[in-house]
Symmetry: C2
C-alpha cells in the first residue's frame, strides 16, 4: 500500500473517517428536523463521495453545472436539481440529459427564462428561485413577479427554491439561526402565495451548509441542499459551523527551501494547488492561503500558515512573525495544508488520495469531474 | 463553422490574432537585446500555443510542473527548464523524463537539495536559484552559500537563474526598468563570482514578463524566461506592461438574470470560470473579478465589471454604482470577461476556443494540460 511519502506533491488528501463523520452528523440533523437532504455535489464532484453520502441508494442530488449532471447521470443518478438559473443556450444540452433518463429540475427567476424553458423540446420541471437575503439571484417572496413567472411556467412549475448565501458572512451562531429562519420563512411564504393563487408548489427547497447546520425548525420545507459540510474548511470553522478537526480535505506539500533571514519555509504548494481563495481574510482569524498541519494532520507547536502563494510556490511563516524552527522542516519534508474553501481547493485537482485518520496508508484514489 | 453563439458558456476564448501580435512583439524585443527567449509555458500549457511561439521549431521551454514537462516531452520538446526548486521526492519522476529523452534542467537553492540531486540515478543539469528582490526563493548573489552549493553540485552545475517576481508590484515603468537591471546585475554578478571561484556558469537565466518587456540592457544574460506576455491580462495592463486590447484571453458568459433593484446583471461566469484571482485589488484600478466587454471584445459604453462572484455566478455591475441599461443585456445574451490573471483563469479550463479578432467564428479548439 502507498503511504503519504509515496505521493508526488502537491496532492489532494481526503480523510474518509472525517468525511463519514461529517456525513452522519448532517444526516442526523436532517432526520431530527424531518426533512429530506438533497446533497449538493458541487464541492466534491465525485461518485465515490456520493456513495458515502447516500449509503448505496443514490437518491437525489443538486448540481452547479450540466457537466456534473452528465457525470452523475452516467452513474445512474437521475433525480437532479440544476441549481443555477438556466441560460437559454443550455436548454438543448439539458433536454439531451432528459432524453437520456435524467429528471432534471431547472431554476429561473425571470419571465424571459420561463418563456425560453416552455419553448424547449422537452417539458422540464422548474422551481422559481427566490431571493431571501439580497445575496445574488432570485425574486422576492412578496413580489408580484413571483406569480407572473408561475403563470408563464404553467405545468412546468414544481415549486420554489432559495439559498441563503449571506449565511457565510454571519458573525455568530445566533445570526445563522436567524438566517436559517429567514430562509425557511421566505421560501414557505412564497409557496403559500403560489398555492393561494391556484398554483401547485409541492417543492420548497432551501439550503446552505451554515443554515442547514443551525436551523431550529424547517416546517414547510420539503428538502435541504448543502454541500461543503461534507469536507468543511477554514471558512466554515471561522463562523463556527465546524471545528478545525472536522476538515476532511488537505493538500500535501513538500518543503523545497528556506529563507532563513525572512523566516520563510518555501513549499511546492502554491495557489494552483490551494486555489486563490482568501475567504478567511475578512474573518476574525485570517488563515492566509491555509493553515499548516503535520503529516498526521495534528496542530504544530508553532502556529504556521501559508502567508503568500505564487503559482507553484507556497510561503509558510509563523503567524506571529517570529522565525520558525527550520530544523523541524528540512528540505524534502512533508506538510499538510488545510484549505480556506473546500470547493475552490478541490476544483484545482482531478482526484482525491483517500486516507483514514488512524492509518498512514492511501486506501483509495477517487476521481472527480471538473469544468463545463 | 461554430460561432460564439454555438458555444456552451462559460467558455475560454483565445484570440489568435492578439496572441500572435504579443508573441511577435516579445520576440522582436529579445532579438533587439540579442538574447534567447525560453518561453515559460505555465500560463498557456498547450502545445498549440507553443507552436505559434516557436514558429514550428519547438526550441526550449520553461515549465512550472513535471506534468507540463511530461506533456511537452510527448510532443517532442526536449530542452526543458523546471523552474521550481526541486523537491527530493520528485527526483525519480524527473529521472524518468531524462531517460525518455528530456534534457531536464533543475533548480535549487540549498545544500540539502544539491546533495539529493547528486545522489539521484541520473546526472541532471542544475542552475542555482538566486534571490534578487526578496520575492520568494533563492540565495543572494553575494552570499557564501552560492559557492558552497556550487561545490556540492560538482559537474551538475550549469549556471544561475532568477525571477524578479516583485516586478509585478512595481508602480511605474521606471521602477520596472530598474527592477530589470537589478535582476540582470544580480544574475551576472553571481555568475562572475562562480567563475572567479573556478566553477563553470555558462547559463545566466533571468525573467518575468514585466522585466522582459522593459529591460534596457541584458548584457551577460544568456536567456530570458517569460510566459504571461503571450496572453497578457488586467494585472499586466494595470502596471503598464500591455494595453487592455493586448489581452488575448477572455471568458464567454451568458446573462442568466437581473437584479434591477441592486443594479446587477447575473451571469453563469462565476469564480470557477474566472478564478478567484483578485490581483487588481491592490492596483490603481480595481477590476473586480474581471472587466466586461461585448461579444466582439469592444469596450461597452457603460463601464461594467464583475463586482462579485460565487462558484457558478458572476455579478456584473457598473463601476460607478449606477444601474446599467438592462435592456442591452437580456437573459441569454453573451458577454466577454477579461481576466485579472491569465495563468489563474486559463487553469480553470481544459481547452481554448480559438477565434480571430476580425472573425466571429471559432477556428480551432486547443487542449491544455493542468494539474500535477
Amino acid at each position: 500500500m502507498a503511504t503519504l511519502h509515496d505521493l508526488e506533491t502537491p496532492a489532494l488528501l481526503l480523510d474518509r473517517s472525517v468525511l463519514d463523520r461529517n456525513l452522519s452528523r448532517m444526516q442526523a440533523r436532517m432526520d431530527r428536523l424531518a426533512v429530506r437532504l438533497r446533497p449538493h455535489v458541487k464541492t466534491t464532484k465525485s461518485i465515490d463521495v456520493l456513495r458515502r453520502v447516500s449509503g448505496g441508494t443514490q437518491g437525489s442530488i443538486t448540481v452547479s453545472t450540466l457537466k456534473e449532471a452528465e457525470y452523475f447521470l452516467e452513474y445512474g443518478v437521475t433525480n437532479i436539481l440544476y441549481a443555477v438559473g438556466i441560460a437559454p443556450g443550455k436548454l438543448a444540452h439539458a433536454a439531451g440529459l432528459m432524453r437520456r433518463g435524467a429528471e432534471l429540475t431547472l431554476i429561473l427567476d425571470s419571465i424571459e427564462a420561463a418563456h425560453a424553458v416552455r419553448q424547449a423540446a422537452v417539458t422540464f420541471p422548474v422551481l422559481i428561485e427566490l431571493d431571501v437575503d439580497g445575496h445574488r439571484s432570485g425574486v422576492s417572496p412578496e413580489s408580484p413577479l413571483l406569480l407572473e413567472i408561475a403563470a408563464a411556467l404553467g405545468s412546468s412549475l414544481r415549486g420554489v427554491m432559495t439559498h441563503a448565501g449571506e449565511s457565510y458572512n454571519c458573525a455568530s451562531t445566533a445570526a445563522i439561526v436567524d438566517m436559517a429562519e429567514q430562509e425557511r420563512a421566505g421560501a414557505v411564504r412564497a409557496a403559500e402565495r403560489l398555492r393561494a393563487a391556484g398554483f401547485n408548489s409541492p417543492v420548497v427547497s432551501v439550503g446552505s451548509t451554515p443554515t442547514a447546520t443551525f436551523a431550529a425548525d424547517l416546517s414547510g420545507v420539503t428538502e435541504v441542499r448543502a454541500g461543503v459540510y461534507m469536507f468543511h474548511d477554514l471558512v466554515m470553522a471561522g463562523i463556527g459551523v465546524c471545528e478545525i478537526d472536522d476538515i476532511a480535505l488537505s493538500v500535501l506539500v513538500s518543503v523545497i527551501g528556506h529563507q532563513a533571514d525572512r523566516g520563510w519555509i518555501i513549499t511546492d504548494g502554491g495557489w494552483m494547488a490551494l486555489s486563490r481563495d482568501r475567504g478567511t481574510a475578512k474573518q476574525r482569524i485570517d488563515q492566509g492561503f491555509g493553515l499548516v498541519r503535520d503529516l498526521d494532520c495534528r496542530a504544530l507547536s508553532e502556529d504556521l500558515i501559508v502567508m503568500s502563494a505564487n503559482q507553484e510556490h507556497g510561503v509558510i511563516a509563523r503567524r506571529d512573525g517570529h522565525s520558525p524552527d527550520f530544523s523541524r522542516y528540512p528540505v524534502g519534508s512533508l506538510l499538510r495544508i488545510l484549505p480556506n474553501h473546500a470547493c475552490a481547493t478541490a476544483a484545482q485537482h482531478t482526484r482525491y488520495q483517500v486516507i483514514e485518520e488512524t492509518d498512514p496508508t492511501v486506501v483509495a484514489c477517487w476521481q472527480r469531474t471538473n469544468g463545463w
